[in-house]
Symmetry: C2
Subunit: 653 residues, 2 copies
């Protein structure tokens, strides 16, 4: 029987199977209406009393028989005898007869006989009499019993999310408690020997627990209550006992990690020990394939993959809808917009893929920028994006320019300033100075210099940070011209010091690129296409010429030339951990890791700005900040970054 569950199933099959083994049952509890804002009402609420409960005066003045005032005029007032006073909250036995009036306060009960209220502004009192200067019609300034809410009227429907408005109506009807759906309790367990809780010391080869935080928070966002049971180490007994605790305390149990085949498929084995046990083992979804679903005591247990993005994908498609159902929430979350894919996207056949994207508005409508590369382990993939597109099981490729449906994480707000291009700490410093002056929103999409240039070309970005070195040795200008960008200017930015990063006190005595050829020196290279790699290869071509060998022959002799790190930081980490002796990178990271630095060249980090944005207030502020003393000083403190005489210079292209 269980064998059949070892086949990977589609998302829809997984949902069908879950619901054939488990029936969600909403729980109801009664709460005080004062604390009920945001809760979902579990049954129709009917008015038990009229609002108002009696005919009320809606103004301060005199309760009268309207007929008695019909002759009243500004210069010929009607004179009525005052027979008493009615205050709000007081039961009065008064009766207003012909030619009489009773003083009345706003909210007070209308005395018998009276059918209207003359506002105090249109009266003048003299002794026991009042002069009325304007007529009133029957019912004027009176709110009749039940005219707001009538007994028996349906005032709040089942399924309503309570706001101050419905709460006010219930209060007005004297209802102090209301039945709402109890928030489903969801137990959260992280598993893995490598996990350390944030805030604690991170040992070597360890990583911080992310899933228990994202999952707990997403449970709350979907209307549930999260109970974190802790991190289970890779011992089956520990995991099993935490899951058992979860089954006792919660309506749903979620674990993450220990689902991969290589790790011995631990979670599958544990969950299949429960009865009826595992009902889904592997879902055709990317990321998130190794998910396991089990049922025990009429409660579902979700074994999510360990990677944060994979875990959240499965959560989003399978767990979130269930939590919402139990919470009684019917609102469909997440708005959708149509966009054009800015770059090609690939997907595996037979798997549904959730691809995180950034969305920007340009001259051709919305563009969706997929997060590139292998993102299933990247927390930034879902944190810094606007939403995702769902690529169905039968699609393997979406072309650049394809129309896609983006499900937004939250409302898409056009940022005041849109920067797409190469990432640099200098940009963050510029933005932080600007934010200190006045609030604004900036969106920074780090997709590298080349994509930034294209985004400026398409009008999607206000500006792009770029540091592309041409083979002629000139930064940015030649490359931008090659891409045929019109209607933009290049604003010279600042210098980033590139050099050789070596261990502290340079134990191997490395002085330059020629030392890379030594037998006892291992190198860590950067990825092809990066500005740093282009710089490295320029130096190595020079060296090859000087040595009289071919470039290929030369790099063949460099130990580690083929090992490509993707960031400055990973080069520094490789050197700091002793995995490599030397790499090329910016001084900033060398300092951060306490490494020695041998300067090679000052890289020119510039900004490509659309001409039509040069007069936009926030862009002007950006460029003014670039040339400000404050920026120069702050940059000074960052080792390896500095402004120079060309900073702020505008180059026409």
């Amino acid at each position: 029987m269980r064998k059949i569950f070892r086949d990977i199933v589609t998302v829809n099959e997984a949902i069908d199977r879950l619901y054939s083994f488990y029936t969600p049952k909403k729980q109801v509890k009664e709460v005080e209406i004062r604390y009920a804002v945001g809760r979902i009402v579990a049954e129709d609420v009917y008015a038990k009393s009229d609002v108002p409960p009696f005919d009320r005066a809606t103004m301060d003045g005199y309760a009268v028989r309207a007929e008695d005032t019909f002759q009243a005029e500004e210069d010929n007032p009607v004179r009525l005898k005052i027979v008493g006073v009615v205050e709000a909250g007081e039961r009065s036995e008064l009766e207003v007869k012909e030619g009489e009036a009773a003083e009345i306060a706003t909210g007070a009960m209308m005395p018998k006989g009276a059918n209207a209220v003359v506002m105090v502004e249109y009266t003048k009192r003299s002794g026991d009499y009042v002069e009325v200067f304007r007529p009133v019609s029957p019912g004027e300034n009176v709110m009749f019993a039940g005219s707001d809410v009538m007994v028996g009227e349906l005032i709040v429907r089942e399924g309503t999310r309570l706001t101050h408005r419905e709460i006010g109506v219930m209060a007005a009807c004297g209802i102090s408690r209301v039945k709402v759906y109890r928030k489903p309790i969801v137990a959260v367990i992280s598993t893995g020997n490598e996990l350390v809780s944030p805030g604690e010391e991170l040992g070597e080869a360890k990583i911080y627990d992310v899933n228990s935080y994202t999952i707990s928070s997403a449970i709350v966002e979907n209307g549930g209550e999260a109970v974190f049971l802790g991190i289970a180490r890779d011992r089956e007994e520990e995991m099993r006992s935490l899951i058992e605790e979860g089954l006792k305390r919660a309506d749903i149990v979620i674990t993450s990690g220990s689902t991969s085949a290589g790790a011995g498929d631990v979670m599958y084995r544990i969950l299949d020990g429960f009865s009826p046990g595992v009902i889904v083992h592997g879902i055709a979804i990317k990321p998130g394939k190794p998910a396991v679903i089990a049922v025990c005591n009429e409660k579902p247990i979700f074994g999510l993959p360990g990677y944060p993005t994979s875990a959240m994908t499965v959560f989003e498609l399978l767990v979130a809808p269930l939590i919402k159902e139990l919470a009684g929430i019917r609102e469909v979350g997440g708005e959708r917009i149509r966009a054009r894919l800015a770059v090609k996207a690939f997907s595996a056949e037979g798997r549904r893929e959730l691809l995180p994207v950034n969305v920007v508005a340009g001259s051709e409508g919305y563009s969706a920028y997929p997060v590139s590369g292998s993102y299933s382990g990247a927390v930034t993939a879902f944190a810094f994006t606007d939403g995702f597109i769902e690529i169905p099981e039968n699609i393997v490729m979406l072309n650049e320019g394809s129309e896609v449906d983006v499900r937004l994480y939250s409302k898409l707000r056009p940022a005041d300033l849109m920067i797409i291009g190469s990432h640099c700490i200098g940009v963050e410093i510029l933005l932080s100075i600007m934010r200190g002056r006045r609030p604004f929103t900036a969106k920074v999409i780090n997709v590298g210099s080349t994509s930034g240039i294209l985004a400026v070309k398409r009008g999607e970005a206000d500006l792009a940070g770029t540091h592309l070195l041409d083979e002629s040795g000139v930064y940015n200008e030649p490359v931008i011209r090659k891409y045929g960008v019109r209607d933009a200017v290049l604003v010279k930015g600042y210098l980033r010091e590139q050099g050789l990063i070596v261990a502290r006190e340079n134990p191997k005595g490395i002085g330059g690129f020629e030392d890379l050829l030594r037998e006892d020196v291992s190198f860590i290279n950067r990825n092809r296409g990066s500005g740093t790699r282009i710089l490295t290869d320029m130096y190595l071509k020079d060296l090859a010429e000087r040595e009289g060998v071919s470039f290929e022959e030369l790099v063949g002799k460099i130990k580690g030339y083929t090992i490509e790190a993707k960031t400055h930081t990973s080069v520094a980490v490789a050197v700091a951990s002793g995995k490599a002796d030397v790499g090329v990178g910016i001084k900033t990271v060398a300092s951060q890791y306490g490494l020695d630095f041998i300067p090679l060249k000052s890289e020119e980090y510039d900004f490509l700005v659309r001409k039509d944005r040069m007069n936009k207030g926030i862009v002007k502020e950006f460029l003014n900040t670039l040339t400000s003393d404050e920026f120069a000083e702050k940059l000074e403190k960052i080792d390896g970054l500095r402004v120079y005489e060309r900073t702020g210079e505008i180059v026409e292209l």
Copy 2:
């Protein structure tokens, strides 16, 4: 000095004056990120460690030097020596040299020398060796240190509302606590002798406290924390001491009630006893004019009017923006849509008016239905509407058809079923039976039969409940024809028993309309235009003919003929409280109030349905329910409502 504050000021002047006496200061507190979802971040958060913190394998398999696999083919594998195993979370001293491989688990730290991972699926192990069937490129299945998040990178900006996504990134960087804006604490005080807390027994002439509930809930909705200090009776000392307690415990103090001139302007006097005291006394806004604003100890005190709608209007325009500012919330709440006014609306010159409206979509776009009449005391005015329009100080009238900007309370969702017309408990019963079968959304706008007919004509409503009696004595058909409604049919509904409502056991021995002429009998009439009034006048015309007098002469003899109650319920209340001896109304309310009932006529409550909606699923269900046994049985239990032989009959118009 204080005298100047006795002039009524505009909303904008009130805001300017508040900010010249008071400067909002945001407070910051540190919270655990696990419980920080929904909080607003108070300062930029930077990454303190790389993510991932080291080069990680992203797949289970073998860590290799990519160069060693370049020759691998499906039928000609490369054979590598296994030099060890690296598990996730383990620090390994292993080094992978030429021709070697290390078994590696997903998430484990890459051993020195290796630059790629071959997935286990493309390998075959035999003893100490592994056969690799596919080449890998450098970096394949490896996630480099810092490639997700780099040290020093800005990960969460000040002002961000935290979701699971940002919380995940902070966790990944090892950040366990985050500085957020402390929710401003707002003290809430209700005042008034007439107030009773919901859930308690409502004495005569008392009403339930609504404001402390709506205000507390709205404080939470706007990002604050509400502290309810209780209901102060109309004793100045009690009010003052609660306000003093509020100033100690909270950032803002809100009172409601005791602001009207007639009540001796109590709140003004109390608030002016603080220092510097009252700064605004009266705002040109409708509803909400008598609001008072004071400042003490650099904290604002808002004295809101007692009427729920007035209180909420002032809260919305003056208090909510301040709470949001203190809470650090920058999102602008409430979406806006353009609509066409369905009926004329009036506003006072020199006052800004917030007019609650219902919005429906029709063939001519959106229509906004203002809530009619004197609504400033109506809790339903804001509870059951979709939003409001703001009528500026300089506009006194907006014509039917004017384009208006509606600020929505929440997202406008077209209801599955739209009913506009006369209100009846029978409709609520129909809907509750339907909801028992499957969930759907219905919007019921009770604007009376005539407006319902026009809404059907304009395509805004699927159907309208109507019970309009023509002078010929025929219900609905003639009137609908008069309005020239095409493309609609009349579906006969059910009967509502109308009759004379008299006190229990009929102490005055009333038998018919002729008794209304007696000296010792007082009558309570209904408002002109209502179906019941038309019915009453028909009977009285008959009587006049029989008596041989004119109608005017006859009604002149009826005590109370000019007193017009607006609902069936208020007629019943008038009789039950002894204010009147007899009135005309439906049996349902007579039973609810334990009154005696003398039947007169069975009123025909029918449904006007657009032809193009007759095939709409939910409309079909509505009509099927109308003719169902279940509806007949449920109606049977409601005294005075019943189905009959014509129920469900379709009349072509």
